[in-house]
Each structure stands twice: as C-alpha cells, then as structure tokens.
C-alpha cells in the first residue's frame, strides 16, 4: 500500500547540504509492520516526517523521489495533497509525549479536533467518540481525563493520549517514531503491546521506529536497518535475526541490553560516531567504523542486494562469509 522509491531528503543549511535521507526505497503492504532500526541520527525521523511533510522549509526532496500510497502517487511536496492523507489515512505518534501534546489544550479538545474536522462530528458526538478512544487506549476514568490538560497526566498516559489522537480517524497506516524512547522502561512494553493490539484490531499497517533492535524483535514483520541516511539491510524479521549480514546490524544486535547478562556488564556499544552527513565518507558509509572494512569498502559503494527470500543487504564482506584478508 505504501511504496517509497528513492527518497532523498536534504537540508540546505549554512554548513552545506545535510543528506539526512539519501536514496531510501521500500514497500509496505496492508496490515504489515515495518520496523526501522538505526542509531540516533541515522535519518529515521527525517524519513518518516518526509512522508507526512512535517519538516522545516529547509528540507528539499530529490528529483527522483516518488511515493505511492494505496495505488496512487502521493505528492509530498504539496500541502494540499498531504492534507488528504494526514490524520485520516496516515497518522503518527511522536517520540516525546511531553512535547507532542499541546500544553494549553485539553486532552479532549485535541482528540475531538480531528473528529470534528475530518469526520464532521458535532461537539457531543465527538466527545463520546473521544471518551471511547481514551477508554480503548487503556486510560482509566476517561470522562474525567478528557477535560484535563497534558501536564496533569503522566508520560505513559500522555503517550496513550497521543495514540488515541492518532487512531481517532481510523488510519490505514500508523507511524510510530520511537514511541517508547522517552518513557519509563516499566511501561515501554505496555505501550508497544497497546500499539500491536490496536494494529491487529484495526488492520492497520504500521511503521515502528526504534534505535533498539530488541524492541522490534517480536513486533515487526519486516525490519529495515538504517545507517547514515540509507537502508543498509532489510529482511523479514525472523530471517534477519537468524542470519544478519551487515556488520552494522550485528553491532546493533550486540548493543541490546540483555536480561540474562550479569549485572554491571558494560553495554557493548558501537565504537566511533556516525558520519557527517554533509560530507559522507566515500564507498561504504560504515567503513570508518567497520571491523571488516577493506580498501574496496572505501573505494566502492556496496549496493543493497539480495540474498534469498527478500533478504537484502549492502556489504562487500557480509558476516558469515570469509573476509578479503
């Protein structure tokens, strides 16, 4: 239902052109969940915000960029075109519920707003729907909560409200951009379960973004791994976990905190820092940090190509194959 082809989102800044998303393509089918994983700064947020036109005016899209949604092209450069899908067909949940809710509007007003605008409901109807929505995202005492302001709610409740807002108009695609990153660990799972349940109930497609491979492990049908504005590995979830080929994906894997590890084991993080997107390194962008890098890696860029059964990766010396040395 969603086809993204050669998405390039570049920011024209004083420092130069920031190639935040640099040639990303993928497809997403109805009812499926795509997990997008990558370190902070790899372009996940810019990618999804591009789809909804939620970027500042310094963002420019590449000429070959084409987006299709439900069989029709979607012009992401046009506010009018975007407003046809925003809120109705595609909805979004943001990372930080502390900042994504309007502090001066009641919870109810923020939910009923889209109901009234898109569905033309009257005040009373919208309010009833809002109560039902709040109830359905697991907030107790919905009738009281509806008249409260965001600052009167905890972070977890706020994110539930944000989800309720996103679900209000029954979207076909829900984008959740790190919906649990800002939340207390104890409630992260609850929120993710809520999203999964709603997705199943409403038969929505979902893009679930995270920097933590562990989060998407049981919840996504497919996983795309992003690095420096590009997708570097892509596979059905089970496949990926069974056979990860990119050294970067593996590094991400190793960075997942493990419950079975003895306490005080230092987390294995990836050495080095993500590259400067104004002047990305030549060849493979991961090369400066890659333990398997060879001279070929810096000379030639590896294409995103396939192994079997839809497993694609961009690496000259994939894990599980002997290196050049």
């Amino acid at each position: 239902m969603l086809t993204v082809s050669n998405l390039r989102t570049h920011f024209h800044t004083g420092r130069g052109i920031v190639r935040a998303v640099d040639g990303v393509s993928f497809n997403l089918a109805r009812g499926r969940t795509l997990g997008i994983v990558g370190e902070s700064g790899s372009g996940k947020t810019v990618l999804v915000r591009s789809l909804l036109g939620l970027l500042p005016s310094t963002a420019k899209f590449g000429g070959e960029t084409e987006i299709g949604f439900e069989g029709r092209p979607l012009d992401i450069r046009s506010e009018t075109a975007l407003n046809q899908v925003r809120g109705r067909a595609i909805a979004m949940v943001f990372q930080d519920p502390m900042t994504s809710l309007n502090p001066v509007m009641t919870v109810g007003a923020q939910i009923t707003e889209s109901l009234r605008y898109h569905l033309g409901l009257t005040g009373g109807e919208a309010r009833e729907r809002a109560v039902a929505l709040i109830d359905s995202v697991g907030i107790p005492m919905a009738r009281q909560r509806i008249d409260q302001h965001p600052h009167q709610l905890s972070g977890g409740l706020r994110q539930r409200v944000a989800i309720a807002i996103a679900l209000a108009c029954e979207p076909k695609l829900l984008i959740a951009d790190e919906p649990t990153t800002a939340l207390d660990v104890t409630i992260q799972a609850e929120i993710l379960d809520l999203l999964a349940r709603q997705q199943a109930e409403r038969d929505m497609a979902m893009i679930l973004i995270t920097h933590d491979l562990g989060v998407v492990a049981g919840r996504a049908d497919d996983i795309a791994v992003m690095y420096a504005g590009r997708i570097v590995e892509r596979a059905p979830t089970a496949r990926l976990f069974a056979n990860m080929r990119m050294p970067y994906t593996q590094a991400l894997m190793n960075a997942i905190p493990r419950l079975e590890a003895p306490p005080n084991t230092p987390l294995r993080t990836i050495g080095g820092r993500p590259p400067d997107l104004v002047n990305p390194p030549p060849g493979c962008r991961f090369a400066p940090r890659c333990p398997r890098a060879e001279s070929r890696c810096t000379d030639h860029e590896p294409p995103l190509e396939g192994g079997e059964s839809g497993h694609r990766f961009a690496c000259w010396y994939p894990v599980g194959e002997p290196g050049a040395a």
Binding site: S100, L101, N102, S114, I165
Partner: protein
C-alpha cells in the same frame, strides 16, 4: 485565590504609599510653586506670599504630605488649587476617556499585530515578512504626533470622515463616541502594534518548531487552524507582558495624543497640573495611575493563568 488577592492589595497599598510620597517630595522640589501660577503675571511679590500662606504652601513638605494623607484616609482627595474642582471629580470625569483610549488603541494594535505577527511567523523570511518588518521599523521611528497630524489631514480634512479633534461621551451615542476615538487610537496603535507584532512573530516562530505543531499538522488540520488554535495561545505570553507594559505607560503617558486630539484624559490633567504645581491634582492622578498599574499587573497575571493551564493548576495546588 483570596491569599493572592490580599497579597496584591497589600502590594498596592505599599506602592501607593511610596509613589505618593515620592511625587509629593518631587513636586515640592520643583522650582516655584502653585502660587506663581495662581497669581498670574500681574501680581506683586506681596500678593504671592499671601496666596502661599493662604494655601499653606509655606509649611514644611512633610507636614503637607501628612495633611494630604490624613484627608485621603478620610476619603477626601482635596480640591485643585487652581480651579477649585474636587480632585476626585476631575479624575473621575477623565478616567473614561483614558480607559477608552487605552482599550481602543490596544485593540487596534492587536488587530494589526496578531494577523501580521502570525502570518510573518508562518512565512518567516518571505517577501511579505521582510516588507512588513521594515514597515514596522519605519512606523516605530515616526513620532506619534506626526502620525496624528497625517491621520487628521487624511481622514478629517481630505476625506472628512472623522472629526479632527474633540471628545463625545458615550451618552451622546456609541457611534458619536467611537468616531472621536478612532484617529487618536489609531495614532497610538500604528506605533504600538510594531513591538507586539515582533514579539508575537518571534515567539510564534519558536512555537511553530514545537512537536505539538507537527502533531497538529499530522492531524491534517489546515494551516490557519493550526496557527490560530494551536500556535497562537502558547505564543502570546510575551505579547501579554508587552501589552501590559504599553497600557501601563499609556495611563499617564498618552499626553501628546490627548493634547493633539483634545481628549480630556488623565495625561493632560497630570501634565497641566505638574506645570502649575497643582500638587493636589498631581497626587490624585499619581494615585490613580499607581492603582491602574497594579490593576493591569493583576489583569496580566490573570491572563497568564487563563492562557496557560499549567500556571492554573500550580496556583490551585498552592
């Protein structure tokens, strides 16, 4: 809430006390006194001394201030030395004029500033934004009286739509009354909308970067609705502060406009009284201005509370 009001009231009394004592001393320190005004140019030094004795001006400042305070405590603000008019009457008759001028000028200023500020923030850096920015800069550097004269020339003399000067009270009809306030209020508004527009614009630009604005966009709401429903209120805190300051400054400071347009407001009363050293009137005006300031402060605080629910609950909790 009761505690809040009591606190404000106590502060008001303190402010009034300090301000009135200070003005009393300052007026007393000015060279010459009301006797020279009262006596006119055709008086002898002996007569001036006689007037001074009659009015008690030969007494010590502190004694006079004491008398004034005592009378005030009994609810008597005294009479003008000059016209013998009771101070309270003089102020009471001018207060509606001053208040109407304040309110209308700020309403006009907001009518200009809000749409302009919102639009400039929405299209920051656009041609419109830059043109408006430099227009605002130009307008703020035009002295009010020049603007006033230009407006009179255009609307009173050329187009003959509005009267050049004068004041009609509400009792003469709403339109008759409003007509006399349009040009004076515009003269003030055309200068004062600029800082309002600028603060709104810059606060709004900051607000528009907020996540909740992206959220509103993601809901598929049209731009105007996002700007007015989502962005305006959280962007208007500094605006309210500036508005409060401007109104405060205008209570006694609309002098030039009141003089040019012959509006019988507090500013003109005060300045004439200062020139004449008519300290009973001066004290009365200062008293009202001080109260006005405190009231405006209070209103501004209340507006913050109305605009920002976060303050409301904090207040309710404490």
């Amino acid at each position: 809430m009761a505690k809040f009001v009591t606190l404000k009231l106590l502060r008001l009394i303190g402010v009034v006390f300090a301000v009135s004592a200070l003005t009393f001393v300052m007026v007393a320190m000015l060279p010459a006194d009301i006797a020279y005004d009262i006596a006119g140019q055709d008086a002898t030094p002996a007569q001036i001394e006689a007037i001074r004795a009659e009015l008690g001006l030969d007494q010590n400042v502190l004694v006079r201030y004491g008398h004034w305070l005592m009378s005030l405590a009994q609810g008597d603000m005294g009479r003008s030395f000059r016209s013998d008019e009771p101070v309270l009457d003089a102020i009471w008759s001018r207060l509606p004029v001053t208040i109407e001028l304040l309110v209308l000028s700020q309403v006009f200023a907001l009518l200009l500033a809000i749409p302009a500020g919102v639009y400039c923030a929405y299209r920051a850096g656009s041609r419109f934004d830059r043109v408006l920015g430099s227009t605002g800069f130009g307008m703020i550097s035009v002295p009010t009286f020049v603007l006033a004269i230009v407006l009179i020339y255009l609307f009173a003399l050329r187009l003959e739509w509005l009267p050049a000067t004068g004041y009609e009270p509400f009792s003469e009809g709403v339109w008759a009354n409003l007509r006399t306030f349009v040009l004076p209020s515009l003269s003030i508004a055309l200068v004062e909308w600029v800082p309002l527009m600028r603060t709104l614009r810059s606060d709004m630009i900051a607000t528009l970067k907020e996540d909740f604005i992206s959220m509103a966009k993601a809901k598929g709401l049209p731009a105007w609705r996002i700007l007015t429903r989502h962005a305006l209120r959280p962007s208007s805190f500094t605006l309210i502060t500036i508005l409060g300051l401007q109104i405060g400054g205008l209570i006694g400071g609309a002098l030039i406009i009141e003089t040019i347009f012959a509006l019988p407001g507090i500013g003109r009363l005060l300045i004439n009284a200062i020139y004449a050293r008519d300290y009973m009137i001066v004290q009365g005006c200062i008293l009202f201005i001080a109260v006005g300031y405190v009231v405006i402060n209070f209103v501004v605080d209340m507006l913050y509370v109305a605009l920002d629910p976060r303050i409301r609950t904090a207040g309710a909790g404490g």
